[in-house]
Symmetry: C2
Subunit: 219 residues, 2 copies
DNA sequence: TTATGTGAACGCATTCACAGCC
DNA sequence: GGCTGTGAATGCGTTCACATAA
């Protein structure tokens, strides 16, 4: 597909399904594995096997963004990797703050996966005075009250919420007021936010209860 | 709906959508909030508002399991709570093991939400000799090599995988061989498992990349 | 009158199937 | 011949709308 067509494609880019984006993320991971193994091309079938999906699904997912493959051959591994990183916005650095310096917030501050993918943790906040000033890796826990001012000085792109459920909504409000438009929420509540704010919720209780349901309803 | 009908209902219980189960989990949380506030009844509208969904969705979700409400009135809060706990299998204790005593595994071992919902963490494993013997709360990290024997002696219901991506599939195989049939996977890979095994994956990298995609593709 | 329960309509993601190109 | 790209068909979760019951 020539470049001009890709541009037209992008203009008419319709709402991409969440599930599609999640799979792109998986495909990229497998591509990187293939890349380190030095393989030059990969077929939709091979990508599908690793991602637990079908080759048709892989091709459809990719087709939303252009046509990157060669018929009869497959996809060029480094090239498709580059394109996926572009599409997923991983070709730049995103500034991330963590609000809530408890167990989960702390674990995330130490998590290497962030930086590897271009997510740079620039601050960690808490309201608990016994936690403020504590160090996590190279970061010192700051008072949540300073969040708005800090963010005006050096804006972050993404805020991770790791506070208790009761505090999550008000923290979300604070974050949004401060001008951050993307939230990753670890609190077990559905945050109420304006349409222009993107939220991803990781609700462990929900997942566990999903397992519990499956166990309780076998046959 | 009389009891006999509920039983018939259960027999023909068709595959319940994942999304439905997740919402039930949310409804329960809000019901508990209402319960502590001492409210006796709740309407599908009120439940919907908190869960970020619609009243029709709430009623449809509940209708898969019976009819619990009173027309013109709503749902009895404690009664619906009891039914939801039953449906979700939260009226019993589930034994959970954690495999991988790194940052995330450690944070989960300390996480209070587990026990509150009837999930009892009975063991934590690692292969790293520098971690084996270390204490997390009341648990001592054991050698992963002992997992199968331990589980034969005292079977667990759910295994949580918090090992690096490269090790996740082999750990999953070990877990399945040991007889555990439900897995919560924190490694950023799609585990290949037999149909009778239930897996829930929490892939933080995927969620983050979802946010990155949203940020990169705004207008 | 108010709010549930549910068949029917709808919309959307997945799957199919095959034309098109290497 | 092999594998991609994609309109068409399918399947399924969500929404609608209204009959039903308190």
């Amino acid at each position: 597909m020539p470049l001009i067509c890709e541009e037209i494609h992008k203009v008419f880019l319709k709402r991409i399904a969440d599930s599609t984006v999640r799979r792109l993320s998986l495909y990229l991971r497998y591509l990187e594995e293939f890349e380190t193994r030095g393989l030059a091309t990969i077929s939709s079938d091979e990508l599908a096997a690793r991602g637990g999906t079908t080759s048709a699904q892989v091709r459809k997912d990719l087709s939303f963004f252009g046509s990157f493959g060669k018929r009869g051959l497959g996809y060029d591994v480094p090239q498709l990797g580059r394109r996926l990183r572009e599409i997923l916005g991983l070709d730049r650095e995103w500034r991330v703050i963590i609000v809530g310096a408890g167990n989960i917030g702390g674990a995330l501050a130490f998590y290497r996966g962030f930086r590897q993918r271009g997510f740079s943790i620039v601050a960690i906040y808490d309201t608990d005075t016994s936690k403020i000033g504590k160090r996590f890796e190279s970061l010192t826990v700051r008072d949540t009250a300073k969040l708005t001012d800090d963010n005006a000085a050096e804006p972050a792109d993404i805020a991770v919420i790791t506070v208790p459920a009761e505090a999550a909504q008000s923290v979300a409000n604070l974050i949004i007021t401060s001008g951050i438009t993307a939230i990753m929420n670890f609190a077990p509540v559905q945050l109420q936010v304006p349409d222009e704010i993107t939220v991803k919720t990781v609700n462990m209780a929900m997942e566990l209860e999903g397992l519990s349901f499956a166990l309780a309803n076998r046959e």
